[in-house]
């Protein structure tokens, strides 16, 4: 008994040690980001480094807001992310239900067609999508970012897996009740596919929030920029003034950080599910 206890504790100690070292590596950059954002420029380039600034320079944050409309960036990013996520959840689940539960002519062909999108790297869509935005006059608008993101082959594929796993009896029963397909989808299937919906929701939210290339290409006016693009613009103006750049970075990640703190479990489970299926 004594010996196994000893083995257990030393093994546990080793595990914790490794995990702690890794955790420190994970968290250190964030700590450094926050500390730097509160230093003066002179403090930030002081050698040896100043770890804790003498006075907290909240003015750095003010400067970020003063030059670029950061609140607008936040607003834009929130709206874009929200609409894309909700849009995908609705449209993909609708299509996924049909592909999974209804037998109709051309079903397999159309589904395979949708799947080809998954096989193709994003850059292949970029130029023509951009030309579409130019022709529609949608450059520097939120629609330009939102609309293409409403349609997802990945989301359709993922949710179809979920719908396929639901028992057929539920459907039969509802049919006898006189429900049409939409009602079956809306009242019965959708609530049961919640894990899948949450997974897709989290996945899309994360991707949409962090996206850089497409929003940068279509929205280069400060009015319609997203946070990622705003950060790159900040870097263009402030070059290497790191206290301000760090303040901007922290502001940019703050909303998602807050969301994550409240919905940790959902986030992590959601991502796990996308991998499992």
């Amino acid at each position: 008994m004594e010996r196994t206890k000893q083995l257990v504790t030393s093994k546990t100690f080793l595990i914790h040690f490794i995990l702690i070292v890794g955790s420190v590596a994970m968290v250190l950059p964030f700590l450094w980001m926050i500390l730097t954002s509160l230093k003066t420029y002179a403090e930030s380039i002081h050698v040896p480094p100043v770890f804790i600034p003498k006075d907290f320079q909240w003015g750095n944050y003010k400067e970020v807001f003063g030059l670029l409309p950061f609140f607008k960036f936040m607003y834009n990013t929130i709206i874009i992310t929200e609409l894309r996520t909700v849009g995908q959840l609705f449209l993909c689940s609708l299509a996924a239900y049909a592909f999974a539960r209804i037998e109709f002519p051309g079903r397999n062909f159309l589904f395979l067609l949708a799947l080809t999108v998954l096989m193709v790297p994003g850059q292949v869509f970029l130029l023509p999508q951009y030309m579409i935005m130019v022709k529609l006059g949608w450059l520097n608008s939120l629609q330009a970012v939102i609309v293409p993101g409403l349609f997802s082959a990945f989301g359709t594929f993922l949710l179809r897996q979920f719908f396929m796993g639901l028992p057929k009896e539920l459907e039969e029963a509802a049919r006898l009740d006189g429900c049409n397909h939409f009602q079956i989808y809306w009242r019965i299937m959708l609530p049961l596919a919640k894990p899948g919906l949450i997974a897709l929701g989290i996945f899309t939210t994360l991707w949409s929030w962090n996206e850089l290339m497409w929003p940068m290409i279509v929205n280069s006016s400060p009015e319609s920029m997203t946070l990622s693009v705003g950060l790159s613009s900040l870097q263009g103006q402030y070059l290497t003034n790191y206290p301000i750049l760090m303040a901007g970075s922290f502001l940019a990640i703050l909303p998602m950080l807050i969301l994550f703190i409240f919905l940790q479990k959902q986030f992590i489970e959601g991502i796990a599910v996308t991998g499992g299926k």
Binding site: L91, P121, V124, L127, L150, L212, A252, G275
Partner: protein, 315 residues
Amino acid sequence: MKEIPLQAEVKAPKKFKVSSLTKTRKRSDYLWAYLMIAPTMLGLIIFYLWPIIQTFYFSFTEWGAFGQYEWTGLDNYKRMLEDTNLLKSFKNTGIYIIFTVPIGIFLSILVAVLLNQKIKGKSVYRTLYFLPVITMPAAIAMVWKWLYNSDYGLLNYLLSLIGIKGPQWVSDPKIALYSIIVVAIWSGIGYNMVIFLSGLQGIPKMYYEAAEIDGAGPIRVFFKITLPLLSPVIFFVSIMSLIGAFQVFDLIFMMIGKSSTALESTQSIVYLFYQYAFVLNDKGYAAAIAVLLLIVILIITVIQMVLQKKWVHYD
């Protein structure tokens, strides 16, 4: 909600269904189906499928300054053969992939396995490791660029404490790419870790119990039981990581500037694509690069799918 009817009762009425009733029901089924897939399919066709064809078309054209283009046939492809920049970007991307994907997967599995043990504070660790995943690459790039700063950054300072003069992490052409690789691995561990953790939890306990009875040590258990049973997940993660790594852009764009001496040795394929498409306004050539990327990824994915039979276990 009515009770679910017994199998027998459900089956019986079918025998007596009038054929016309079935037909109308089927037709309304089809109608519903088309209606429900319509938005997504239309959206996919307009914004994704048709653009694929258009990009192929554009790859045979050359573009002027403000949006005009003309057909030039295979010129762009011929140009690619002599473009040393493009070749270099393939090499850079290749190096990036070779290091990021295997090391990243290995570390994610390691952390997932450790977190799968009986220890306290799992959720705290999980959260901490997941932090970089929810942070936007633009912000990650900025803070790491600062940590890497050769004169005033934290990293070189820490190294100087143990007497090493730190190199120029992001400006030295020889090592800039590897500095970026480190950041990429750092920010990706949490994501794959979560997927692997869920995969590990899906392994039935009976395998482990059997191994314990046989007296197998933890290392043997890992290689003979855990890894093989985890292999479908590893396969999936490696394909996703590979495809993602081929398209690396954000980190490099934010960390390496246009006038950086390390630009040529860190440019990825997609970075070059962006340069040609939106900075140099050479959209035809950029389209050709996109097509090339597509072909390369397809080939590699097919190779992976073929190889999977050799090492992936499905039960």
